[in-house]
């Protein structure tokens, strides 16, 4: 109990009828919880968060698709035998397959027969193709152990020495292109994410300055009751943390919902032309558990980024206000009496 309250005249309990003690309502926040500006900022953060999560999901999707392609391609190699006059194609194909299978790391060898080769060429040369009439190269497909691939250089040298018409294609060019494409996609995605974050930080800086300006009277009162800059900053920080948590949760949830819906639509419409087209263009829309974790992480990062930005902006602005307030040479607009 403070000194003043101790020294106050004690009330006479008999003189006044005893009343029930008034209950104090739960203490409200120092900054008013919501206003139009706060709601607008929440919507902006939700949109930014949605875009960031969408970018993250898209990058994760492209990476997954590229990695799946890469894995499919690197699971097999092809030996191409060019036709030559006097060459027994069937025997050469068998020889090439057998030579390849002598290497550790190879699993299985399949010679593409005439029918399969004709089917492969059908789009260009039409149906009913007689391969014997055309000098069409033939293929041997060798399945390899991805974890323990064979020595391609030794295999290529041996094939070249034994069968000069043979050409080994380990699809390295395609794999390199895919890896490069995946890296580019990740880089673009990271760039977009950085842009989204920068735009969000700038928005939050403007919003914080606006909120400070709109709540200048509160800052002044806090100053007059002896609040330190860090206390005021913490109050604004709490205010913006609530706004950003709501905004980023809404944006992130919307992005997650979008991916889940697209994944569901794709799984339900397998083998339809629309789904096949979408799959061919974008791959599968499904993002895995790590993708959803990424969305959650993005939401948290956005909330933290917003809160920290608000804190630093408030500290800086309060410092400016304090400087201007205390310096009579800069106290423009303040009362002169």
């Amino acid at each position: 109990m403070n000194e003043i309250s101790r020294m106050r005249p004690a009330s006479n309990p008999q003189a006044q009828p005893k009343r029930a003690e008034m209950r104090v309502r739960p203490t409200g926040p120092i900054l008013p919880p919501s206003n139009i500006q706060g709601n607008a900022l929440m919507v902006v953060i939700a949109i930014m968060s949605f875009l960031a999560c969408l970018t993250l999901g898209a990058v994760s999707m492209v990476r997954a698709t590229a990695s799946s392609w890469e894995s499919q391609i690197s699971r097999e190699v092809t030996i191409q035998i060019k036709p030559q006059e006097g060459l027994d194609m069937e025997a050469t194909l068998k020889k090439a397959r057998d030579l390849a299978l002598t290497f550790v790391g190879t699993k299985q060898g399949t010679i593409m027969d005439d029918k399969a080769t004709a089917r492969l060429l059908e789009p260009w040369l039409g149906a009913g193709l007689d391969l014997k009439e055309l000098p069409v190269p033939r293929l041997v497909i060798i399945t390899i152990d991805e974890r323990n691939p064979p020595d391609f250089r030794a295999m290529r040298d041996l094939l070249h020495a034994e069968i000069p018409q043979a050409f080994l294609d380990d699809h390295r060019t395609w794999v390199d292109r895919l890896v490069s494409m995946a890296h580019t996609t990740v880089l673009i995605g990271t760039g977009i994410m950085i842009l989204v974050f920068v735009a969000m930080i700038l928005t939050v800086i403007f919003a914080t300055r606006g909120a400070l300006s709109g709540n200048r009277h509160i800052v002044e009162v806090l100053h007059f009751v002896g609040a330190e800059g860090s206390f005021v900053a913490t109050e604004f920080q709490k205010h913006f943390l609530k706004i950003s948590l709501k905004g980023s949760a809404a944006g992130g949830a919307l992005a997650a919902l979008l991916f889940a819906s697209l994944g569901l639509w794709q799984s339900r419409s397998i083998a339809t032309p629309e789904s096949d087209q979408a799959t061919a263009l974008f791959g599968t829309f499904t993002i895995d558990f790590t993708g959803y974790l990424g969305i959650l992480a993005t939401m948290i990062v956005i909330a933290l980024l917003t809160t920290l930005t608000a804190r630093f902006t408030v500290m800086r602005t309060i410092d400016e206000i304090d400087l201007i307030r205390s310096d009579p040479a800069r106290s423009d607009g303040l009362p002169s009496s």
Binding site: E3, I4, R8, R25, H217, G226, A227, P328, S336
Partner: protein, 239 residues
């Protein structure tokens, strides 16, 4: 009454400094390139003293109050607060000193979205105190200023006199060593002005130095107290 501002300065210092909460010496202030609002202002605010600060409009009362509250730096001169030279105190230490000074504004400056109780508790809240440690004291103080039944009311619903009492209670909440009040009776009728004055006197009796900036001659005539009169930036003191 005798003006004392023109006293021998050496003698004045030796009299005033030991028990002075605040000491001003040759303080001058101008806003930007404008004229000097305060000129060579020299005075002490002794512990447990009671004084009125008065003068015509535009004489510099509010500026002087802002200087007293460490909210403004003088253009020249020396100010010591609680024995420390203000120009030597880092800015981040000023809030700690401000906590030893209570201030009441003419326009109350209450936070309209907070209740009477929350407004009064604000100084303790910014000091990081737990509500359970001060709730009883706040309610008791509100009862003392006659607002025991209005603890959950928002300021827009309060009358001028009630708002003024909330502002006074807020300024007193953390037992300041000095209370500055800017036109505390400017918005209330004479009986309420008398009540508020009694409140300040009682507070002064409990040991708080009080400075009341006012135009209200009738209010000043009610008690025999020190008068600090500002005229065109110059200060005369009548004991």
């Amino acid at each position: 009454m005798t003006p004392v501002a023109e006293f021998n300065l050496t003698e004045f210092r030796s009299i005033g400094r030991d028990d002075a909460l605040i000491h001003f010496e040759n303080v001058g202030l101008r806003y930007g390139m404008g004229p000097e609002i305060l000129r060579d202002v020299t005075f002490d605010i002794p512990k447990r003293s009671f004084q009125f600060l008065t003068g015509p409009s535009g004489a510099g009362k509010t500026t002087l109050l802002r200087l007293l509250f460490m909210s403004l730096q003088p253009t020249r001169g020396l100010i010591t607060m609680f024995g420390r030279d203000l120009s030597q105190i880092p800015r981040n230490e000023l809030p700690m000193l401000r906590r030893r000074v209570g201030i009441v504004f003419q326009d109350f400056r209450l936070l309209e979205h907070l209740t009477t109780y929350e407004n009064v508790a604000l100084p303790l809240r910014v000091r990081g105190k737990e509500e359970s440690t001060y709730q009883k004291d706040v309610i008791e103080l509100l009862k003392w200023v006659g607002l025991g039944e209005r603890i959950n009311v928002l300021p827009p619903v309060l009358s001028g006199g009630e708002k003024q009492r909330v502002a006074i209670a807020r300024a007193l909440m953390d037992q300041p060593e000095i209370l500055l009040a800017d036109e505390p009776t400017g918005n209330v009728d004479p009986p309420m002005a008398r009540r508020l004055l009694n409140l300040f006197l009682e507070l002064n009796r409990l040991g708080t130095a009080v400075v009341i900036a006012t135009h209200d001659l009738a209010l000043m005539d009610q008690i025999d107290a020190r008068r600090m009169i500002l005229t065109e930036g110059r200060l005369d003191i009548y004991e």
